[in-house]
Amino acid sequence: MSDKPKHPIRVALAGQPNVGKSTVFNLLTGLSQHVGNWPGKTVEQKTGTCQQGELTFEVVDLPGTYSLSANSPEELIAREYIIREKPDVVVAVVNASAIERSMYLVAELLPLPAPVVVALNMLDVADQEGVVIEPHVLEAALGAPVVSMVASRGQGILELLERVRGLVCLGAHYEPNVPDVRSDHKQVLERIEQLVREHVPAGYPSSWVALKVLEGDRQLTELLHDRLHPEDWTEIQQILHEHEDAFLAVAGGRYEWIARMVRAAVVKPKAGQITLTDRLDRWATHPFWGLVILAGILGLAFWLTYAVGSPVQALIYRHLVAGLANWAQQRLAWSPPWLIGLIVDGVIGGVGTVVTFFPILLVFFAIFGALEDIGYMSRAAYVMDRFMHLMGLHGKSFLPLFLGFGCNVPAVLGTRVVDSERARLLTILLAPLVPCTARMAIVATIAPAFFTAPTLVSWGLVAVNLGVLALVGIALNRFVLRGEMVAFVMELPLYHIPNWRTIGTLAWQRLVSFLEKAGTVILAASLLVWALSSIPGGGIEASLLARFGRTLEPLGRLMGLDWRMMVALLSSFVAKENSLATLAVLYGGAGEGQLATVLRNHVTPAAALAFLVVQMLFIPCAATMAAVRSETNSWRWTAFCVVLLLVVSLAGGIASYSVARALGF
């Protein structure tokens, strides 16, 4: 067949945030997705394939960006991919309910070399807002294919692929109407193009480069600096100096073009109509009720996680991990005890820790994804903004930090929603101070043994953590990560019905990336701690770990902690809840059930309190540390994070022990 290409059709998926791009991507690629990073960047890259009849489509999901300037790594990635990798087609996803603004990216994409198909998505939301759009009229104006879609219901995907095929295989007519600069800047634009025409790198359209230079694009201007004759360069600098505000003319020109394109195709409702989003936002963004609603939603998120995640976690532990350990022990009965220890405690213990994380994480990721997809997340960020400001952060940092209550690993990974690098680093450094479920489990076991009001103590400990988080945040902002706050500008998308498949796919992908990041690290840490606690043999009390714990005893004494407590803290590096198992072994091999009683005979309440305070603030577990390393892409900041938390936790332990002693405990 003549229309069958030799190679798969390469499609790049572009779109602004909140246009339903991930839903379109999920529909296209299903389970064939691969999630990684763009080379050398901590920006997520998703790729996948789509089979339709004889044709294979290779889909690359470009980062969601509002424009294609050089202001962020995401924008650079998107435009460089289109110019350098030359996809066969760019599918630009547009939100029909915010068509004017979301067409802006289309206006930026059309001057690039790849043909564009516009996926007019979220027509259902537009309909709910009373906006009526005629895709054929828009297509006629644009001169580029326009496909109507409601991706959340799977509508329009076949037509989209058909139109892509039409462009690539059937050579469908494609002559798009490209936006123009405002008339008062036409002449200078022409002059710049004349100057740069012979000097643009291969593959870069010179008209586009000229437009970007006029816009003040730093990357392209620098690129041309070395290529241009000095006198031409000076002339360009002169022009740019005289037209400092040219970027407004360019952006304004694009918006005027959009207005012309959509004028005939879109009928908007009369202004002043009160929509669903207006009604919901009256509560969700209210300075008082907004916080109440947020607290309620977060409380519900906790409840769901515990109600669904914890029993499954216990089941997995009992049947899978403990069962496997028993089975291995029986099968290995013939082998030397060290091998049994290595397999059962080192490998199965480590893998078991990873596996038991699954249910909690999956529930948390799903809730996070649902809040994102509905459009609520930006409202939570909005009402929390004034509190986050104290730490030099914006509201956007609040939700990843909240995820930390489930597990710190997704909190660190979730900081990708924060759009300034400085704020993101600060959020990553603060995330380990959010008490995760594993730490709360330790508190829940130990607090009742020592205190008459364990619930109060638990809440007190959480409050201490959050207080320390705020103080550390303020201090880091003031003294370490100084610098200007990036502007707080955030879209509040219209509320819409979530797509469960998108949420499920996202939750699953985040779980898999957690597994990839944390799995090997936890296993390695588990083996390391096992080795340290069994070498040179003769039980954990004679081990290297115990010896190390004993050398730390003078430090422990400041907090009333003996070497066993210190060893328990060290072993929590694998995973926080390992502290309990270590204590159980060290205090006379008591089962975890009797641990409370045994501890009461050995430890004073003041020391127990100090232990809990240190445990709550202690260095991040191995998995979190691996996440911090990969997200900051820096060993220096990882080390800084560990040292910071070590100092903070020990200071907290010493202080709480002294205070408790002074109060007579």
Partner: protein, 81 residues
């Protein structure tokens, strides 16, 4: 002709026309891409007098920090919102 003010001074439910934006290039070009170009009509949805505020323009709701809103110059729109 109505006087020029900064966006942060406007009460909720006021409509205005954007005149200009102050601040650095990055900030201004980011806002321009979002539709904050001279001549655009802006409607204030929420303004508590402190903290961030919400505005609507070009069928989009946008939350803006107070500092950011103070850099946006507008003129009250004579027409109804």
């Amino acid at each position: 002709m109505a006087e020029e003010l900064v966006l942060s001074k406007l009460d909720a439910d006021t409509a205005a026309v954007l005149i200009g934006i102050g601040g650095g290039y990055c900030f201004r070009s980011r806002l321009a891409a979002l539709g904050f170009t001279p001549g655009t009509r802006v409607r204030v949805i929420q303004n508590l007098g402190r903290g961030p505020m919400i505005v609507a323009l070009r069928d989009t709701r946008i939350a803006l920090g107070r500092c950011e809103a103070q850099r946006i110059r507008v003129r009250i729109d004579a027409d109804k919102p």
